[in-house]
């Protein structure tokens, strides 16, 4: 780990001070929970010369919005959001995704803003040595012909197939969340669809944020049907493991027909994957296993696999069908 200097932002205009400190210095980065950042500093994958500690900034509240939505402060910890009664009642898929991610210790540390900014778990990115277009644009991608069991099958490119690792980002994508940020120029808002970028020919660019742009909050708009929603996660071991496939889903059925549905997939995409093809296939049709199956196939038809992760589209199909069956079966999402 290279030497670093440290600045703690605190006091009345701490937010602006932090923005000035990082925005004005390409060698500075924000430090929040540190669960990804400190790890990657130690691996020499990240190399800032200074960390600006933002943990004292007043950005940790979880606020009710008048319309039934929520505004989650960027420095709220994963464990705090997971145990928030408002989140549990209105958005159980968010609470569930958080609880199924990482470990209890990491959830106490990791911030929600940091979760949105976490780096991929691709071993070739993280080893600091292998060819990796994310770490070193133009270097190539060792995963394409390497160990790729955990890699993505949707949204990939010839330059990168790393899976987006976040659990909670999956329901947030399904819920059309908005990411609020600040720069010295003012406040900005991103639709979450515009926030996570596919690798394309620039895998090093994962978000539209400029250097020194600070996430301040995640806004979750009201969605009544989300009160009955779930996050179903399939992985190689039961706990403390990243998803092979996960599904965040909410569905509304009237007179046997799907009147509304939200679906997003984790573990399979280079970004948290909103399953719009599946949603479009379902709306207006019958809420049956057959239509769930057809919708899943519609979404996964474009999957591009490697020999090691060729199981993922089928696993994703089954997981998606089970999620929708569970939600529509007896009203008791597991």
């Amino acid at each position: 780990m290279r030497p670093i200097s440290y600045l703690r932002a605190e006091g009345t205009d701490a937010v602006d001070s932090a923005l000035r400190a990082v925005g004005g210095d390409p060698g500075s980065d924000f430090l929040a929970g540190g669960t990804t950042e400190v790890d990657l500093l130690r691996q020499n994958v990240l190399g800032p010369r200074r960390l600006v500690d933002i943990n004292r900034l007043p950005l940790a509240d979880i606020e009710d919005l008048p319309d039934g939505g929520l505004r989650i402060g960027a420095l709220a910890r994963m464990s705090e959001v997971a145990s928030s009664p408002a989140v549990q009642e209105r958005f159980p898929l968010v609470s569930r995704a958080l609880v199924l991610g990482a470990s209890a210790q990491l959830r106490h540390m990791a911030s929600m803003g940091g979760n949105m900014m976490q780096r991929v778990r691709c071993g070739y990115y993280r080893d600091g040595e292998s060819p990796c277009n994310k770490r070193e644009p133009g270097a190539g991608c060792a995963a394409l012909a390497g160990v790729s069991r955990n890699h993505a099958v949707l949204g990939t490119s010839e330059h990168c197939i790393a899976t987006h690792p976040s659990d909670v980002a999956v329901p947030l994508v399904a819920l059309d969340a908005r990411i609020h940020t600040r720069t010295l120029e003012g406040e900005h808002t991103y639709a979450i669809d515009d926030f996570f970028l596919e690798p394309g020919d620039a895998p090093h660019r994962e978000h539209p944020l400029t250097h020194g742009e600070l996430i301040t909050a995640i806004e979750v708009p009201a969605l009544p049907m989300a009160r009955r929603s779930l996050y179903l996660k399939v992985r190689d071991r039961e706990s403390y493991e990243f998803a092979l496939v996960s599904v965040a889903a909410a569905i509304e059925v009237r007179d046997g027909k799907v009147s509304g549905v939200r679906i997003a997939l984790g573990g399979v995409g280079t970004r948290p994957w909103r399953a719009r093809r599946a949603e479009d296939a379902l709306v207006g049709g019958p809420a049956t296993t057959k239509s769930f199956d057809l919708a899943a196939r519609a979404e996964l038809a474009v999957a591009r696999t490697t020999p090691m992760n060729a199981f993922k589209p089928e696993l994703a199909r089954r997981t998606l069908v089970r999620a929708l069956e569970t939600l529509t079966a007896d009203g008791s999402p597991s």
Partner: protein, 183 residues
């Protein structure tokens, strides 16, 4: 902005973002560990685990993976179980750090009265080599306090961040069940 500089006790106000820079060389960092204030001279890149073990000789928290996957370094910061290996010590100024050494209650005998969780780990033979045990115990007390020790299934899930290479898991769960109502 007000930037605290504990090594001088003075404050720099609004003179620009560089005013409060500390490091990259060793700086004085004030830690509150197990109720005692301790000054250490460390670089900002030093982890809380490194400061505890190498500067304060509190070797209860163990360096297992040093990358946030094994839980052997689990301590409490402001009462919450966290990983000391992924926490920079300098970020803990103004926080209360508790390690396994701070768990036993002082009783004047030098060793102190063991915490209920420590007693039950011994009673249930909840370890073999013992390397992960301080982390297991700090995590286990957190698990109980957080209200997630209802049954074995729940304990399993909420203790999954602590790996035991000897696989003493059944006994660890038995110790947690036994200590549950005493914590």
């Amino acid at each position: 902005m007000t930037v605290r500089t504990p090594d001088t006790g003075t404050e720099h106000k609004g003179t620009g973002p560089e005013a409060g820079d500390r490091g990259p060389g060793p700086v004085k960092v004030r830690l509150d560990v197990n109720g005692v204030r301790r000054d250490v001279e460390i670089e900002p890149r030093v982890s809380l685990l490194g400061a505890l073990r190498d500067e304060l000789q509190l070797t209860g928290a163990k360096r297992g993976c040093d990358q946030g996957t094994c839980g052997a370094c689990t301590v409490w910061v402001d009462g919450r179980r966290v990983l000391a290996c992924l926490t920079l010590a300098i970020t803990c100024e103004d926080a209360e750090v508790t390690t396994v050494e701070g768990l036993a209650a002082p009783d004047g005998s030098g060793d102190g009265q063991l915490h209920a969780m420590q007693e039950e780990f011994i009673r249930h033979d909840a370890f073999q080599c013992g390397y992960c045990t301080p982390g297991q115990i700090m995590s286990a007390v957190g698990c109980v306090r957080e209200g997630h020790a209802g049954d074995d299934r729940e304990i399993k899930e909420w203790m999954s961040g602590n790996i035991c290479r000897c696989a003493a898991y059944p006994h660890i769960r038995a110790a947690i069940r036994a200590a549950r109502d005493r914590v």
